[in-house]
């Protein structure tokens, strides 16, 4: 096994088995909610769950071929969604929309009760 193969194995493994889950862990738990042991472990668990689910869904729904490029794009998409979500919810506009949605939901619940 040459150096390039080892590097591909290592970084490819991290890219598939860690990075997507790491990004998603911030959707489920804010920075101060859990420590890094929990976040790292959760990142592996989430990645192993998310990657096959997404790859299979895309293949089933859009007949997307499982190639190097497509898999990388799918995983990048998986990483981009939580990043965008975090950026939006943290921006002033995002905070405003979130608070409006929350208050609307609360209002609906109050009316029901």
């Amino acid at each position: 096994m040459d150096v390039l193969e080892v590097l591909r194995l290592f970084f490819g493994g991290i890219f598939i088995l860690f990075v997507p889950g790491f990004a998603w862990s911030y959707v489920f738990f804010a920075r101060k909610n859990i420590d890094w042991i929990e976040r790292v472990a959760l990142s592996f668990g989430l990645s192993i769950a998310l990657v096959p689910l997404t790859v299979f869904w895309f293949n089933w729904l859009f007949q997307l071929k499982i190639t190097l490029l497509n898999t990388c794009l799918v995983v990048c998409g998986l990483i981009a969604i939580p990043v965008l979500y975090i950026l939006i919810t943290r921006s002033a506009w995002g905070k405003y929309v979130t608070s409006r949605v929350k208050s609307a939901l609360r209002l609906g619940r109050d009316r029901q009760s």
């Binding site: 193969e5 591909r8 194995l9 290592f10 970084f11 490819g12 493994g13 890219f15 598939i16 088995l17 959707v27 489920f28 738990f29 890094w36 042991i37 929990e38 790292v40 472990a41 959760l42 592996f44 668990g45 989430l46 192993i48 769950a49 998310l50 990657v51 096959p52 689910l53 790859v55 299979f56 869904w57 293949n59 089933w60 729904l61 071929k65 499982i66 190639t67 190097l68 497509n70 898999t71 990388c72 995983v75």
Partner: protein
């Protein structure tokens, strides 16, 4: 008077537990073994702990320094004992290695598509799509092959389980319980046996099961839906276990948001399950039919390949009493949380031998490990903090003895476990892959068949296995027993093409080689494994 009895019971508990662990240690080291039921002692011991449990009031725990260092050390220990068997051999452990390799390669060879419609029925029944699709993603991006997944990813995942165990135990019972649970997991003989049996899907299933319970506890319903869905596409028995946990949880806690998670899970796994709806429904029906038959007739069928509950009690003797103490503590505190439900439901499946009960011992052991850690923390560590005398030292000694007594059989096993075939026998199979006609068949015993399937790249004929087999059970029995050349030829002529007969010379493997020692069969290899060649003739 009552207080006096409680005091006597309490003091007796520490002396008895010390004595019990000493006996277990002597037994594990094969120094001395009493002719008594150790299991009975393990079940009696928690009774003496009752007074302590009844009076116990949990105090605020101090935050431990350098938890991650201990956890990393535990992880490395878990990884090292899983890599230890591979120092002297390149052959994967377990019976299923060849089957996993074959499935990974079938998926990889069909890239860029998923070969759902062309998969043989036994693959569709045996392997949900999750793991092969993950293997495909790793293959396309990281360039991994099937052997690397079996050699490196599987031991890594087995050792990685230390973290979910720690996280789950900590979220329920605090950091110290989490740490003890992770140590007990790392030294658990049952968990190591899971590794030696190469239960790849089950290890992944355990990771998702623990994270699903964690998500439930933390009330993260989307995370719960994801982990529950992962169980559905990786390992169906643990998916069923999680479903069984959620039903009483919903009734007790009346947390209706769990239903949204269940709906989310159903949506996520829909494409996976819809494509195999007939198989999955048939399997579910089979599970309930087995449970009903086992209850009605008192038989124990469909347990799965794993050592039974009697053996489990023996190998977990050291922490068994403390697991019961942990369970009793939860009952006293009326703490009907998801972990307790997990323990009770899993125990019921195993004790009443409902379905797949031997395989469920693996997940039961994880629950036992967490409860044992709780029991140790409640009964020994809290006491140790409150007493600065001999009691404190005794508590520490007891904990060390539990870890050593659990770890010794695991270490012995790690040092002595061997693959089912040796390197030379595997090389013979690889030689067949290089030196036989691509359309040839290879006939093998049930023992050798998975290896031949995985490493020969040829169609494999084996009793009751794979889709190339054209004979029923009776015909195979007749084939094994006969020495009549005409009958042997009649049997083999049903396959059109050259047939190679592979036999690994292991004592558990049987083919009846005498019938091949004649002019119709050409012995082309006779080393640690034997290979005959047969070209079907017209008669």
């Amino acid at each position: 008077m009552k207080a006096k009895i409680a005091r006597v019971a309490e003091l007796s508990f520490f002396q008895l537990s010390l004595l019990f662990l000493l006996l277990v240690l002597l037994k594990e080291f094969h120094i001395f073994s009493l002719d008594i039921s150790y299991q009975l002692l393990a079940y009696l011991l928690p009774l003496f702990a009752l007074p302590i449990l009844l009076r116990f009031k949990p105090a605020e725990e101090r935050k431990l320094a350098s938890v991650w260092v201990i956890l990393l050390a535990v992880f490395l220990f878990g990884l090292c004992i899983r890599l230890l068997p591979y120092i002297h051999t390149q052959v994967p452990l377990g019976y299923d290695a060849g089957i996993y390799k074959y499935i990974f390669e079938v998926y990889a060879n069909n890239l860029p598509q998923i070969p759902e419609s062309t998969l043989p029925l036994w693959v569709r029944e045996m392997s949900p799509q999750g793991l092969p699709v993950l293997a495909n993603a790793l293959h396309t991006v990281a360039g991994t092959n099937a052997t690397q997944l079996l050699h490196y990813l599987f031991p890594l995942l087995g050792a990685f389980l230390v973290f979910p165990v720690f996280i789950l135990a900590r979220s329920f019972f605090g950091e110290r319980t989490g740490l003890i649970a992770s140590v007990l997991y790392a030294v658990s003989y049952t968990q190591f046996t899971t590794f030696t049996f190469l239960y790849f899907k089950q290890v992944l299933g355990l990771i998702f099961l623990l994270f699903a319970i964690y998500a439930l506890e933390k009330k993260r319903y989307v995370l719960l839906a994801l982990m529950f869905a992962a169980l559905g596409i990786f390992h169906r028995p643990e998916f069923l276990l999680m479903a069984l946990i959620l039903i009483p949880y919903l009734i007790i806690k009346r947390d209706w948001r769990v239903l949204y998670s269940a709906v989310g899970t159903a949506a996520l796994i829909a494409p996976f399950w819809l494509l195999r709806l007939d198989i999955n429904l048939g399997m579910l029906q089979g599970v309930f039919a087995t449970a009903v038959t086992n209850i009605q007739t008192g038989t124990a069928t469909g347990g799965g390949a794993f050592p039974g509950f009697d053996i489990y009690q023996d190998v977990s003797l050291a922490y068994l009493p403390f697991a019961l103490i942990g369970a009793i503590y939860l009952i006293i505190k009326r703490s009907w949380n998801s972990l307790f439900l997990y323990f009770v439901i899993n125990l019921a499946i195993v004790i009443f031998q409902l379905f797949f009960f031997n395989r469920y011992i693996i997940s039961l052991d994880v629950a036992m490990v967490i409860l044992a850690a709780l029991g140790i923390n409640v009964i020994l560590l809290h006491r140790q903090r409150n007493t600065k005398t001999v009691g404190a030292a005794v508590s520490i000694v007891v904990i060390i003895m539990i870890i050593v007594a659990s770890g010794v059989p695991t270490l012995i096993q790690a040092n002595s476990v061997k693959p089912l075939i040796n390197d030379e026998q595997l090389h013979t199979i690889e030689w067949l892959a290089q030196n036989t006609e691509p359309d040839a068949y290879i006939l093998a015993s049930t023992y050798d068949a998975p290896w031949v399937l995985g490493w020969s790249n040829r169609r494999v004929i084996a009793p009751g296995l794979f889709h190339w087999n054209r004979h029923n059970k009776q015909e195979w029995f007749d084939f094994f027993e006969t020495d009549d050349l005409r009958e042997v030829k009649q049997f083999l002529n049903r396959y059109r093409g050259t047939i190679y007969i592979y036999y690994s010379r292991n004592e558990d493997s049987y083919l009846g080689l005498e019938k091949f020692d004649n002019e119709c069969f050409n012995k082309i290899k006779d080393e640690q494994a034997v290979v005959y060649k047969y070209v079907p003739s017209g008669d």
